[in-house]
Subunit: 187 residues, 2 copies
DNA sequence: AAACGGCGGAACGCAACCGTTACGTCGTAG
DNA sequence: CTACGACGTAACGGTTGCGTTCCGCCGTTT
């Protein structure tokens, strides 16, 4: 019954609005204005701001990232880093993600949703990437996937989303070498 | 002329309010209410919310962190990790920092202030910690301090401020080993 | 003793947004 | 052709916050 094109317009408006003003200042009226839509169309779909944002976000957040199998750990790793760094440099994403992370610190429902998405991705990376490398003999048996994921995603997130410094030509390469050495050492 | 105790009360209220509702939703009225103070007392000191928050935050943000010299790189590193992880687990800090980071993505003035503070600390860590280690011969000459700082602070920030997972007993130790190996490899 | 000035409190007009309702339009399904 | 229902528009009363102003209180300075 609900018109699909309207729903799409609202979803887009929410994402843009989220990027521009953040969750804290996001207002239903602004979303409606931006989507070129009546408030009624929004309230017909969701009963309040939190519910609306959560539904829209979790859709996006739980999309699976295709994980690489290039045949070697350093290849896999570099490809993953490329994918993640591209995502983190995306205009909308780079605004929304830190904002929701901060909001999660005070809203349990947001926290739960983000944690779920994050955990899913972390596990996928851990099992696939690290698992593959261990089977291949490129990483020691006891490699802790938790530490590994921290070592891989942490620095990248720090640099792109926190320090907001650009990534140079050779950065990912240097970084791949460093991470590989780090993981070999923890075995 | 302005009473000092009132100023202190306001500063504390701003920090608490910032932690509880974030910059986006922080209101002067709420700060005044919380500080047990009239709005006039606030407007007598700062002319608006941004100016108030910036002045209060930069005070805190630019406090220098005493950097360790334990005699060995792994000792220095582990001590630094202890200090940082303690700070990042502090109730107020762990709420305010990600929040302001997110806000910085859309407010140039906040961005500039935080970047300045961050850069100061990063350089201090880079020069002192890495510099010491290189002089001692524990790290290769060409060690890139930028990459190094990313590798050190990134995973910790990721785990504590983003993923919000607790740090286990042996985590810092494991992590120290990993980082050391990583940095030796990039030389 | 008098003047000064920071203080809390209260109220101002204005703006934004909340969530809800009533209304008239329009496309579609029956 | 008719009935239905989603749509946009507009308005509702209520809340919150802005930045400003005026008041009376009270401690300090002179």
């Amino acid at each position: 019954m609900l018109r699909g094109d309207i729903t799409v317009a609202i979803r887009n408006a929410v994402m843009s609005e989220l990027a521009e003003v953040g969750y804290g200042r996001l207002s239903i009226e602004a979303v409606a204005r931006r989507a070129g839509v009546g408030k009624t169309a929004i309230y017909r779909r969701w009963s309040n701001k939190l519910e609306m944002v959560m539904e829209i976000i979790s859709d996006v957040a739980e999309r699976k990232v295709p994980l690489p199998d290039t045949g070697s750990f350093s290849g896999d790793l570099q490809l993953l880093l490329m994918i993640v760094s591209t995502a983190l440099q995306h205009r909308i994403a780079s605004q929304i993600i830190p904002d929701l992370m901060a909001e999660a610190a005070r809203n349990p429902q947001i926290a739960e949703t983000l944690q779920r998405a994050l955990r899913t991705h972390q596990q996928a990376v851990g099992e696939k990437l690290i698992g593959q490398a261990v089977t291949r003999g490129e990483l020691p048996e006891g490699t802790d996937p938790e530490v590994a994921v921290d070592m891989i995603l942490g620095p990248l997130y720090w640099r792109l989303a926190v320090a907001r410094q650009p990534i140079g030509e050779d950065y990912l390469e240097k970084f791949t070498v460093a991470v590989t050495a780090a993981l070999r050492a923890t075995g």
